[in-house]
């Protein structure tokens, strides 16, 4: 559930700075409130009942656990479980699909394909490997890439806005990745963002940036390598 931030602000007064969103993509799980004290954020979880105050890590762990349980119910063919996942994840997935495809009907169909695949493959989700959110976003992305390939969308398309530079960073649970992205040389970073966020292929980036294809491939390979090392630091 998304908590009305305005309501929080009204309730708490202007000295409180609740973040704009709750832990993104967890659906009904958490309310996030920022305490203007270095590094401190506490959460309350709402699922019919309210929880005690918990730290961010505890909230995330509990929320991921909740989503994993719902995936388990999908695997047991409970349609209401898929609806719960849809409530929790559809706006995130639809946003990503729209960003990649820039076409509402295509994004909507891709969203449906992704949820049907989540439904069919829920028993293949392995919590030991990764989080439910990452797994579901992956499914959506690969279906969107299928469609990008069939539509051959970006080729030579000059009207696409160059918005990779606008990716907001510095949101709390993203700091490590955004810091590491920030450390990359501009060309590497931009190539990584154009491919992952905007769905550009190597050759589309090459055309877009007027750069030889081999150079773009090298930027991305280096960018990935540097990101991995930075995140493992």
């Amino acid at each position: 559930m998304r908590v009305s931030i305005q309501r929080l602000v009204n309730h708490l007064g202007p000295s409180v700075h609740p973040f704009e969103t709750v832990l993104s993509g967890y659906g009904n799980v958490t309310a996030r409130i920022h305490i203007a004290c270095p590094g401190v954020t506490l959460y309350k979880m709402f699922d019919g009942m309210e929880s005690d105050w918990v730290t961010e890590q505890a909230a995330k762990t509990a929320a991921e656990g909740e989503l994993a349980l719902v995936l388990g119910r999908c695997a047991a063919r409970d349609p209401s479980a898929l609806r719960s996942l849809y409530d929790a994840m559809a706006p995130t997935l639809f946003g990503i699909a729209l960003r990649l495809l820039r076409n509402r009907p295509h994004a909507e169909e891709t969203l449906q394909e992704a949820f049907l695949q989540i439904w069919r493959n829920a028993d293949r989700f392995d919590a030991a490997r990764g989080s439910p959110r990452a797994w579901m976003i992956g499914i959506l992305r690969y279906r969107a890439l299928d469609r990008l390939e069939t539509e051959n969308r970006h080729t030579g398309d000059g009207e696409l806005p160059d918005i990779a530079a606008d990716i907001p960073v510095g949101i709390e649970d993203r700091r490590a990745l955004s810091d590491c992205l920030g450390e990359l040389p501009e060309n590497w970073r931009r190539s990584v963002l154009l491919s992952f966020v905007e769905g550009y292929s190597h050759s589309e980036i090459a055309v877009r940036t007027n750069t030889p294809l081999g150079t773009v491939k090298s930027w991305i390979a280096r960018g990935l390598d540097a990101l991995k090392k930075c995140l493992e630091r």
Binding site: M1, H11, S15, V16, G25, I33, C37, G39, V40, L42, K44, F46, G48, M49, E50, W53, T55, E56, Q57, P79, S80, L82, R83, D87, A90, P91, T92, F94, G95, I96, L98, E108, Q112, L116, W119, R129, G130, R133, I137, G138, R141, L145, I171, R174, A176, L177, S178, L181, L193, S195, F196, V197, S201, H202, S218, I220, R222, L224, D225, K228
Partner: protein
């Protein structure tokens, strides 16, 4: 690494990033299906890049998106001869019931939020970041926030405006499970900063209950709280994950 020697290709990373296309991608997916190591690498990259995926603004999908999914996953009607239109016509009743449930559930959540969320800021007057925090709550909601620094200094900030009963003071206690409460100091109506070491080192740990009682000026004469706890909350560690 020299700028001239590119790193070995990370196909899992490229796949997750979305730059493997066409035949390359299909070949990789074929490998992926039978190679658990590769699958683990893909999952690791999906996890690494998850925060970036989550920065993309959310967009509410049209309601029609769900009805089509629902139509497909709903169990078929038992009757043998169903026109193609029939499931579409029948689907809303199921959906309406479901939505009723969601609405009820959302209502409960909203009440919980309206009734209970409150948290004041800990004004950043402690020079160092706190190691632990607590939210002291009464039955009707949070009243104070507490930030505890590693050296035992404590910052206590009220949520909203609140005063102790006339002629009384608030006394602060730390309670370890099953132990006698240890007096820590007094809480002023405004923002209170207690100096280092007022909080004994052995009590600077998670789950220690921080509690407030109403006592006569100077504190509880017996050294133990004479009155019920009015506000309390456990210390919570601030993970290194922040």
């Amino acid at each position: 690494m020299s700028d001239l020697t590119p790193p070995p290709p990370d196909r899992a990373g490229e796949y997750v990033l979305g730059v493997l296309r066409g035949e390359e991608r299909r070949a990789f997916e074929a490998d992926l299906a039978r190679d658990p190591v590769l699958a683990a690498e893909v999952a690791a990259w999906e996890e690494r890049l998850l925060p970036l995926a989550l920065t993309v603004p959310q967009v509410e999908p049209p309601a029609t998106a769900w009805s089509e999914i629902e139509r497909i996953i709903s169990p078929p009607e038992p009757r043998a001869a169903i026109s193609r239109q029939a499931p579409r016509r029948l689907a809303p009743s199921w959906r309406e019931r479901f939505w009723d449930n969601v609405a009820i559930w959302r209502g409960i959540g909203a009440v919980a939020v309206a009734a209970a969320i409150a948290l004041a800021i800990l004004r950043p007057q402690l020079p160092a970041a706190p190691h632990m925090v607590a939210v002291l709550a009464s039955k009707s909601g949070p009243v104070f926030t507490v930030a505890l620094r590693g050296d035992g200094a404590m910052s206590i900030a009220p949520i909203g405006h609140i005063l102790p009963p006339a002629g009384k003071v608030w006394q602060l206690w730390a309670v370890a499970g099953g132990e006698k409460p240890v007096p820590i100091g007094f809480v002023k109506p405004g923002h209170t900063v207690l100096p280092a070491n007022d909080m004994p080192p052995d009590l600077r740990k998670p789950k220690i209950l921080i509690a407030v009682t109403v006592e006569p000026p100077g504190g509880a004469p017996t050294g133990q709280p004479d009155t019920p706890i009015v506000f309390s909350g456990p210390l919570l560690p601030i993970g290194s994950a922040s």
